[in-house]
């Protein structure tokens, strides 16, 4: 079924558009997959849910491919998951081996993507069956755990990340209360009665704020390493060195991608650290070791696809991009979760099948078109930023043809800019914002079930497991010896 849905001409076309746009935004520093998916979200409303999700998913994993190009050639990661590729990729380029670096990154991503799709096909159905046993208490504690992991892995202060999660939960409560019908924080605004729109908030926090930040810091100035890119196909020695790091990276990436709050960034760093630790020549890492490119590139691609498992089987987004995709599915009238496979098998299997096809497309796109991507890299930021702003404005307006939503987006753009300046991360806020209505519903249903007793969260085995893990993560920074927590950067 997966391939029969994914191979329909319409779905193939939007898969191609998705991976093409994804590679493009991966290549262009300053416009990540989060901003792009939110920019293009309104334009998918006229598509079928399958085509829309295929395209948006293509943007996400396409960006993972494209991000490596800038890391290797410019030493600037196109998106956060390619940061670690800079370490050895750029050094390889400086030694005249840009071609093999780009080649192994594309092949590594392809192999990882393929293995991940197979793993999703094997793991998702039993997981969805298990999730059918979940009730409101299990869902509430799982979402609580997801939020806790995101704050735990935040790159900055955990307290600030928790604060942002609280703000996100509050923002999610704005609008009409679905149980009582009462208006909350709407101040008689018709726009706010339906709640704050996901698209204006995300576009503001990630799109507008990024432009403001780039202009303020002139971060987009870049020098492209001028070298003739040849021999994109790695030689036999390169393959011998890289194949096991690719397989290990795929495995690490996939499982870190599944974890709520995990993601491509943590996966790429984790895979790189692991390779360095087990290598016979760890001193070579950082000076152009090809396995230092192969492993993290495989890991970030595997993670980006593994993240679909909790979304499609449990209805829980593992990271911000998945949170946006959750929003997209809900807008299209589809509720992701354990019943998705039964109620909308075309959506579930269509997306899974399209990932494999998308990986083939990306391999074809990346290798022959590297020259084109390099030319695109040379577009000056002063030309690019007005167009990014224009996309944001059109995107937020076209949602409901409402200028108030444009103003909301600009407001969140300013908020996002200040948040970045003062070290507050957007990821926990967005994840909490998306989960807030679901969490509130699950919490209220749980308390109704238990006649007001919170013991319901501690007497059911699955719920108490999630709760204990979340609690452990929350208090672990206070425990001596466990103070050092892994830093995940932007959990995207």
């Amino acid at each position: 079924m997966a391939f029969s849905v994914a191979c329909q001409p319409n779905n193939l076309f939007f898969c191609f558009i998705g991976v093409l746009i994804g590679t493009l935004v991966g290549v262009l520093p300053g416009l990540g997959p989060v901003a792009t998916i939110s920019l293009l979200l309104p334009s998918t409303f006229q598509l079928t849910p399958v085509a829309a999700l295929i395209m948006l998913a293509g943007i996400f994993y396409g960006a993972m491919y494209g991000g490596s190009t800038t890391s290797i050639l410019v030493n600037i990661p196109g998106e956060a998951a390619s940061v670690v590729t800079c370490l050895d990729g750029y050094q390889m380029a400086r030694k005249g081996r840009a071609g093999p670096a780009l080649g192994i990154s594309a092949f590594g991503s392809f192999i990882a993507g393929t293995l991940s799709v197979i793993a999703i096909m094997l793991i998702a159905p039993p997981l969805a069956n298990m999730a059918l046993k979940f009730g409101p208490p299990e869902y509430f504690t799982l979402m609580f755990l997801g939020l806790t992991v995101v704050t735990y892995l935040a790159s900055g202060s955990m307290v600030k990340a928790l604060m942002m999660a609280c703000v996100g939960i509050f923002l999610g409560t704005i609008g009409t209360d679905i149980i009582s019908g009462l208006e909350r924080f709407t101040y008689k605004s018709y726009t706010l009665m339906d709640g704050l729109g996901l698209v204006p908030v995300i576009m503001g926090l990630f799109g507008i704020s990024e432009v403001l930040l780039n202009i303020d810091e002139q971060a987009a100035q870049r020098d492209i390493y001028e070298t003739k890119i040849s021999n994109l196909f790695p030689n036999r020695r390169d393959w011998r060195i890289s194949i096991f790091p690719i397989l290990r990276g795929s495995l690490i990436g996939f499982f870190l991608g599944i974890l709520p709050g995990g993601g491509a960034v943590i996966a790429s760093f984790g895979a790189y650290a692991f390779e360095k630790r087990i290598s016979d020549h760890p001193e070579k890492f950082g000076s152009g070791a090809i396995e230092g490119v192969a492993s993290p590139e495989a890991a970030n691609n595997a993670a980006s696809q593994g993240a679909f498992i909790p979304l499609l089987t449990l209805g829980i987004p593992a990271n911000v991009v998945m949170a946006i995709l959750l929003g997209a599915l809900l807008i299209h009238g589809i509720k992701p979760g354990p019943l998705l496979m039964k109620q909308n098998p075309d959506v579930f299997w269509g997306v899974i099948g399209s990932m494999y096809i998308g990986n083939v497309m990306l391999l074809i796109l990346n290798l022959p078109l590297i020259g084109v991507w390099v030319k695109i890299l040379k577009i000056p930021y002063p030309i690019l930023f007005p167009l990014i702003l224009l996309f944001c404005l059109i995107g937020s307006y076209s949602l409901n043809n409402n200028v108030v939503e444009v103003m909301i987006m600009i407001f969140f753009g300013i908020v996002g800019f200040l948040m970045k300046k003062f070290g507050y991360e957007g990821a926990p806020l967005i994840l909490a914002f998306v989960l807030s209505p679901l969490m509130e519903n699950a919490l209220r249903q749980s308390l109704i079930m238990s006649h007001g007793s919170f013991s319901i969260f501690f007497t059911r085995p699955i719920a108490v497991t999630f709760f204990v893990v979340a609690l452990f993560l929350l208090v672990s920074p206070l425990i001596p010896g466990l103070k050092k927590r892994p830093k995940g950067g932007d959990i995207v």
Partner: protein
């Protein structure tokens, strides 16, 4: 940074107080049946407590007292221009219509923030406005505002 952390945590504390006050106007319900104000109040209280923790952390953290500005002193003027242009766009979009307001928006951004030469700014703005109109209005069928001029 220490000072900025203190200020920002105080701003969040005020915001938390606002959330709590406004939440108390809503029915809180009971444990058995939580009301509409239950979760907002909970998030406000948690935000307030965390803001105090963040303030105290910043207050007692040993940091060098180097005073660094949080904005670029050379480039800060671009930011108010961008924001003014964006707010202006949202105010006049319905009146002027998509094509005219987008042309003006891009012209301002290209010319005064870019900054590009007039020829590039005018040409680029016209081209980008028309292309975006064709893509979004004619191809994707997005209903863009026509304004008093009818396009």
């Amino acid at each position: 940074m220490k000072k900025y952390n203190q200020i920002s945590s105080l701003i969040w504390l005020f915001f938390a107080v606002y959330i709590c006050i406004e939440s108390l106007r809503l029915p809180l319900g009971s444990w058995r049946d939580p009301g509409a104000g239950f979760l907002p109040l909970g998030s406000g209280l948690c935000l307030g407590i965390l803001s105090i923790v963040a303030y105290l952390q910043a207050r007692f953290r040993k940091e060098d007292n180097v005073r660094e500005s949080w904005y670029s002193k050379e480039r800060w003027k671009s930011l108010p221009i961008i924001l003014a242009v964006l707010f202006g766009y949202s105010l006049f979009l319905d009146t002027l219509g998509f094509l005219v307001s987008t042309f003006i928006l891009l012209l301002m951004l290209f010319r005064f923030v870019g900054p590009q030469k007039w020829v590039v700014a005018v040409g680029g703005s016209a081209l980008a406005s028309i292309v975006s109109y064709v893509v979004f209005e004619l191809w994707l069928r997005t209903q863009l505002p026509r304004g008093i001029l009818g396009f």
